[in-house]
């Protein structure tokens, strides 16, 4: 039987689970093909974090943060395309690259996806009248992450806070405004003194306001070290509470790579 999504998959009666899996698969495909920049690698980690409902293990974030310290780390180099590699990493062997990417997926993304699936399955709504009708419950039409608007809202905050950080700030006052965004983006999962310290420490302020390439690199390290682990914590708290909404009337907006 031809199904609404063109494969021989069964028609989805619990589309939230399918939506989640598709989202993860898209990120995995992108990783296996190589990410385009150091910045994209941070965005990728943010996106996979929320799409696995924060189930990627904490040591991964520590490892990633280390990659941004000083010379480019080999894990980071391996997940990037050749054009984005720096220093000695330009010589990286293609077989190693493939292996490291697959290991990242096999050891961390796949188990996290499984945990997220189990987390979601208990309350993924079953739309008994809707399987295969290509309507608002079609997984390909879902705008929201795992059909949970609250998660998509969180992601919007996370995108915004991460982008502001990576682009840098014009003056110290902006840091306080940014602190508000970070509070939203982490769903409150940041230390009580987090914003205050940011504002008070002169070396941190220099990096956040700086315009040099070195400052931009340091901001990427800051994001990997201080921001992404808190994003993860926020997703974990929120994902327990977010409730489901089929997104009626949304057109399938993004085409697939041919």
């Amino acid at each position: 039987m031809e199904t609404s999504n063109g494969r021989d998959d069964p028609d989805p009666y619990r589309p939230a689970l399918v939506t989640l899996s598709q989202d993860v698969r898209e990120r995995v495909d992108e990783l296996l093909a190589g990410l385009e920049s150091e910045r994209r690698a941070l965005e990728w980690l943010q996106e996979i974090t929320i799409r696995t409902l924060g189930r990627i293990e904490r040591p991964v974030y520590v490892d990633v943060a280390r990659q941004y310290r000083g010379d480019q780390g080999v894990l980071l180099a391996a997940i990037l395309r050749p054009t984005a590699r720096r220093g000695d990493m330009r010589e990286l062997d293609t077989a190693i690259v493939e292996q490291m990417r697959e290991r990242l997926v096999a050891h961390h993304v796949v188990p996290a996806h499984r945990d997220a699936f189990r987390r979601l399955r208990v309350d993924a709504t079953e739309y008994v009248d809707a399987g295969g009708d290509g309507d608002a419950h079609d997984p390909k039409r879902q705008r929201f992450i795992a059909m949970r608007p609250a998660l998509s809202e969180l992601e919007t905050w996370q995108d915004r806070a991460l982008a502001s950080l990576l682009e840098g700030f014009d003056d110290r006052g902006e840091l306080l405004e940014w602190g508000q965004d970070v509070l939203q983006a982490t769903h409150g999962e940041l230390g009580k003194e987090w914003v205050t310290r940011l504002y008070n420490e002169p070396s941190t302020v220099d990096v956040l306001l700086g315009e040099s390439d070195a400052d931009a690199r340091a901001r990427r390290l800051f994001a990997a070290h201080h921001l992404l682990p808190d994003y993860r914590a926020g997703v974990r708290v929120l994902s327990g509470r977010a409730s489901e909404l089929p997104d009626e009337g949304t057109q399938k907006t993004e085409a697939s790579f041919a």
Binding site: S4, G6, L32, A33, T94, A255, F257, A258
Partner: protein, 386 residues
């Protein structure tokens, strides 16, 4: 027929050796470490390397809702299966200049090498070099025994051009190979899983012989001559004989012919002129079904429907509408289609990098990766006749 020179043409402003070296240095190093280049099966394949360079995700047919649209056109199989058609495929991509046709052509070339281990043949032409993004992997095929000149020209025409020897082309492409005739090219020169750019033989050697061997194909000989193919024909006419040679004499590995700017070869305006252009269009039309059967896919790119003669358009089963122009919504706009599945215009609002593919029953949008060239220089390869 020369009447002597009346104009003092002087010397053209050509780049000196140092400038030439600088221009050549802008091109990425040719890739000679892959499985195709070394024969070592433990190396990455060309397609894997290409996809890595441009960030092209691996092919996955399940990303598409309609298996008969994009997946069927890309994936070639000798066995028909459900909605899928067996053998080679074809499409005509239509779009205005600057809407991504050439980038899509590069992208499709990578996919064909990846999905079917295809021998990809890009139609080289003296004035164009849109294949340069893939230059590091390119096997450049030139005719034997004709003088070839190569020039690198800046997009800024006030910059001096650099003139290259054929040997120097290997600073840009992986390898330059020579062929003696269409059959030799197919049998000896083209490799599976490899991207080739082929420049036609301006002397059309062997073309008439290939034609004469096919007893079923007979067309009017142009007036005042005794053969359909002759040395004075436009070099483009070589392609008709090449396609016929590929279909009749193999080898029948999967092969893709990528034909950018198809209006140069077989336009609607083709006439029974002194070169027999119209007869050759008929020849291509008559071999179209056999091309499919023998695994030759023909992917055409043009500005509009009339870039290609309607006799051929009747045979093309897939269309791609590039962004910026509205897709047709009635079959009367598409020669050879009895119905068009779209009921609305959508492609006029697409951005570059997204297009619509359709056949008579279904349509589906798809995206491709940008594949920029590393430099703004164009490569012009011109062939003499003697």
């Amino acid at each position: 027929m020369s009447t002597g020179k009346t104009i003092d043409w002087g010397d053209e402003n050509v780049a000196d050796d140092e400038t030439k070296r600088e221009i050549l240095a802008q091109f990425p190093e040719p890739v000679r470490t892959t499985r195709q280049a070394t024969g070592n099966a433990s190396r990455w394949t060309d397609e894997r390397h290409m996809r890595e360079r441009f960030g092209v995700p691996a092919w996955d047919a399940t990303r598409f809702d309609y298996p008969d649209v994009v997946p069927n056109c890309w994936e070639h199989s000798w066995e028909a299966d459900g909605d899928r058609i067996a053998g080679g495929t074809d499409f005509l991509a239509r779009g205005k200049p600057g809407k991504g046709k050439s980038t899509l052509a590069n992208y499709v070339a990578v996919r064909q090498v990846e999905v079917n281990n295809e021998k990809v043949v890009w139609r080289g032409s003296s004035s164009r070099s849109e294949w340069l993004p893939l230059a590091p992997y390119t096997v450049l095929c030139l005719p034997e025994g004709v003088p070839v000149t190569a020039r690198l020209e800046s997009k800024d025409p006030t910059e001096p051009a650099a003139e290259l020897d054929v040997d120097e082309l290997e600073a840009i492409v992986r390898e330059v190979r020579r062929y003696s005739d269409p059959v030799d090219l197919n049998r000896r020169v083209l490799d599976q899983g490899t991207f080739h750019v082929v420049y036609p033989d301006p002397r059309l050697r062997g073309c008439q012989e290939v034609y004469e061997r096919d007893a079923e194909k007979r067309y009017d000989t142009p007036p005042n001559r005794s053969t359909l193919f002759a040395e004075e024909d436009p070099a483009n006419h070589w392609w008709f004989a090449w396609a016929l040679a590929r279909v009749n004499h193999g080898p029948h590995h999967w092969a893709t012919w990528i034909c950018d700017e198809v209006g140069d070869i077989a336009p609607q305006s083709a006439r029974k002129d002194q070169f027999g252009t119209f007869q050759k269009v008929e020849l291509l039309k008559d071999m179209w079904v056999d091309a499919r059967k023998f695994g030759l896919s023909i992917f055409l790119f043009g500005h509009s429907e009339v870039d290609i003669h309607e006799k051929i358009r009747h045979k093309i089963r897939w269309r791609i509408q590039m962004p910026g122009t509205a897709n047709p919504t009635t079959a009367s706009d598409v020669v050879g289609f009895e119905s068009v599945p779209m009921d609305r215009q959508v492609t006029d609002e697409y951005s570059i990098g997204k297009a619509l593919m359709y056949n008579e029953t279904h349509f589906e949008a798809f995206r491709w990766r940008d594949m920029p060239s590393a430099t703004s220089y164009k490569l012009k390869i011109e062939e003499g006749r003697t």
